[in-house]
């Protein structure tokens, strides 16, 4: 939990990040029912930082996110070529084991989807399926993770209540805690705040900024202000291609590509 990276300066952190990237994408092409959704993607996502994928709707940003943990596998008529390396291992290799890969990546979906069980069980579900039977330890994990997302004080009296009783903002934090409980290395967010009110959105954003010291975070968002607020790097995707990738301020304030400029200025959306 308490990685040593937290005491590094921003600069050295960048160096570390670029040295051994968690996620590397090589020549990735995704076709869905004959349509090319992603074209020749090549990039390395920096560690311990927030990378936002932005771009107009339908540009392939969600598909890109879902190729990272192979959720795209379930899409009808999908063909994938190229490779995605997580910790240097190709997750699209023939002998790759999907559940193991997915465990490394927590997903925070658009809307909160609490599992049909109690608050406690939601967080404990992941550790439990991965073989944790010790009740005391489970309790500890649940408390730690709920504290991590700042939900503990709000729910500690009613851990056995159904998770659906929580407000939608609380539910999303619960989902984050549930994802963290399986000890991922990477957090993937798919427009994770789009269903939330401004205050809950802020809470989640602050949490993500907080969490990046321990995790590599990749977010899909269509809100530029959000990308500016939370991310260190921005990846602009257009028509299935990576148009621009760089530090947040570079991409947003000084975009190199014309399409990026137009998008950032709001001419295309």
């Amino acid at each position: 939990m308490h990685a040593s990276t937290s005491i590094q300066t921003a600069e050295t952190q960048d160096l570390v990040a670029l040295a051994t990237p968690h996620i590397q994408i090589k020549d990735l092409n995704v076709t869905i029912e004959g349509k090319r959704i992603l074209k020749n993607i090549n990039l390395s996502i920096p560690n311990n930082s927030v990378t936002s994928i932005i771009g107009p709707s339908g540009c392939g940003k969600t598909t890109l996110l879902k190729t990272l943990n192979r959720l795209v596998d379930d899409t009808k008529g999908v063909e994938i070529s190229g490779s995605v390396l997580v910790n240097g291992e190709d997750i699209y290799a023939k002998d790759a084991e999907v559940t193991h890969i997915r465990k490394k990546m927590g997903l925070l979906s658009q809307k909160p989807f609490p599992l049909p069980m109690s608050i406690f069980e939601n967080v404990a579900y992941g550790p439990r399926i991965h073989g944790e039977r010790n009740k005391k330890l489970l309790k500890q994990i649940v408390e730690t993770q709920l504290r991590n997302v700042g939900l503990w004080e709000e729910v500690k009296e009613r851990l056995d209540a159904s998770a659906t009783r929580l407000s939608i903002g609380q539910q999303q934090r619960l989902c984050l805690a549930r994802g963290l409980a399986v000890q991922p290395e990477i957090i993937l967010g798919d427009e994770s705040t789009s269903a939330l009110d401004p205050i809950s959105t802020q809470t989640i954003e602050n949490l993500l900024i907080e969490l990046k010291k321990d995790y590599t975070i990749v977010l899909v968002t269509h809100i530029l202000r959000q990308a500016r607020r939370v991310s260190d790097y921005i990846l602009f995707v257009y028509n299935g291609e990576v148009v621009e990738f760089g530090k947040t301020e570079d991409v947003l304030l000084n975009p190199q590509n014309e399409i990026t400029q137009q998008y950032v200025k709001g001419f295309i959306s």
Partner: protein
Amino acid sequence: MNWRLIKDKLAERSFALLLLSSVVVIFLILIGLTMKSVPLLRAESLLTVLTDSVWSPLKGNFGFLPFIMGTIWVTMISLIIAVPLCVLASVYLVEYASEALRKMVLPLMNVLAAIPPVLYGVWGVLFVVPILSDYIAPLLGVNTTGYTVFAGGIVLAVMIFPIMISIMVEVLQTIPQELKAASLSLGATKWETITKVILVKAKPGILAAIVLGVSRAFGETVAVLMVCGNIPQLPSSLFDAGYPLPALIANNFGEMMSIPLYDSALMFAALLLFVLIFGFNLLSRIILNRLEEKAQ
């Protein structure tokens, strides 16, 4: 590989096995029925069997025409009654009725669907048959016991209400609001919109619902058997008795072993039903699946 993955694989394999075996059973049924029918078809050609109208197993005559006609009569009568009623009622439910009314009526259709055939039969015997013989037939100057294809058709019509209503309502609900709005804004009345736009658009779905109704009517056994007289003849009017195919099987299985070729003939009847109903169902399901895909 850890235990969890093994469990997952195990589940996958055993589920696949279950699926495979149930599919195999269906093919076995088809093959079994065909093999059993072969002796009959060796003795007489398929054409003769289907078009001959003499049924006397003791003399070795196995003409299926009376039964085919019996089935067609009751099915047609039930469609003539049920289709207009169901189309009108489902249009009403979708286009006019309030949400509350719809929520009340549709579950009642489920109740109607849940009533077992034998109870429809009892109702037919207690109500439809006497009404026909005591009131309607005398009105038309006909003398009958009431056990007629007409009675069979009425009972069947009520039995196919639920399946037709539920599918028609579903189909009508998929018609986009914009389409209706376009027609209404051109100054068409609601009824004109319904006949000229909605029903035209919903035609394939309604057709599929009717085909499902037909296949249901084709296979219904006991309810019809109880009210339609069961005389192997070619019906020539509403008030003639008829003898549908399923009733033939149900009534005669007991003695089929003692007369040569009889069992083969009854299995041929089952095969005929199976193939026809399989075909009808396949047709309507394909139409409905297409519609559903389009709607998405």
